[in-house]
Symmetry: C2
Subunit: 181 residues, 2 copies
């Protein structure tokens, strides 16, 4: 497994991006490598290509499987596992979003609702805290509700929505468009 210049730059940058978004650098690199690979790879091959200990590859692959980003393939006559990821970027993107929503947005909404309830009785400064937390809750609820609806759309509809960009507002009913001009 010899990495080309482009592949190496891509993988390194991806690792860096992962780190900035709270994903382990090695985990992100392993995923980037699998994304670029035409075939499924063994843990051995991944470790060699990235110069990373197999133990770390193992941990990273487990993590990626927990995120539903990597699947395992078995081959008859070979006891090794072969790992692959989707080559469809939209699939990958939606998977990550789905996971982060479940792991972070949903628990955060629960926390916010708890807080709003807790801060019910209280003085005037408590009232401000309560309304601010409630505003945050409402915001996340709104985004989350939008996400829950949109994720059910078939891929082509989603694509066409994105493709329209702000053009979408041209066909909005009056109520939504009124304040535009």
């Amino acid at each position: 497994m010899e990495l080309s210049d482009a592949a190496r730059e891509f993988i390194l940058h991806w690792g860096e991006m992962g780190a900035r978004w709270g994903v382990n650098r090695t985990v992100a690199q392993v995923h980037a490598l699998l994304y670029l690979s035409p075939q499924a790879l063994t843990a051995e091959e991944i470790g060699e290509a990235l110069s990373v200990a197999r133990s770390n590859v193992s941990t990273s692959l487990k993590e990626l499987q927990n995120w539903n980003l990597v699947q395992v393939e078995s081959r008859i006559g070979d006891r090794r596992d072969f790992f692959r990821t989707s080559s469809d970027v939209w699939t990958l993107f939606l998977t990550v979003v789905e996971q982060r929503v479940e792991r972070e947005i949903v628990p955060t909404l629960e926390m916010l609702n708890r807080c709003v309830a807790t801060a019910r009785g209280g003085g005037s400064s408590q009232a401000v805290v309560r309304s601010r937390i409630a505003a945050m809750r409402d915001f996340l609820e709104e985004i989350h509700g939008w996400y829950c609806q949109v994720r059910k759309l078939p891929a082509p509809a989603l694509r066409s929505l994105i493709g329209m960009g702000s053009g979408i507002t041209r066909i909005l009913p009056k109520a939504g468009r009124r304040r535009l001009d």
Copy 2:
């Protein structure tokens, strides 16, 4: 500065969320505190409320100012700086998105374009690498293009877009709606 139970839980959770999204825990906590506060706060007050050294508060505030999330207020007859953040969640959200796009998406697009160019000449396995990187580039370009258009919308239009959820597809022109049913 005595924190209520709700405020404390909110701030701690927010710090945890920040950590998961690549934001320093203390930075996120400082911002959460400012978000809940009815008035602008001094570095001293922030440090006291969060039990954090003033030096860290200073660093965190600087970071938040770099992100355009925190503003400084001066008061006549007081030499201290007072720090505040917007209480409008949409404003905060859009600020963060704008910053992350500039700092991460745009540079990533540049990297991807470099890689696609680099991988131009090359064998058959290089062809796969090139097409995968190009696919990623196209995806990010699409999302980024959408973002660039949508961010120019006035807040009410954006709100109504979100509010519609998947209902938006009901008024899509035929081309976008065709494959829905």
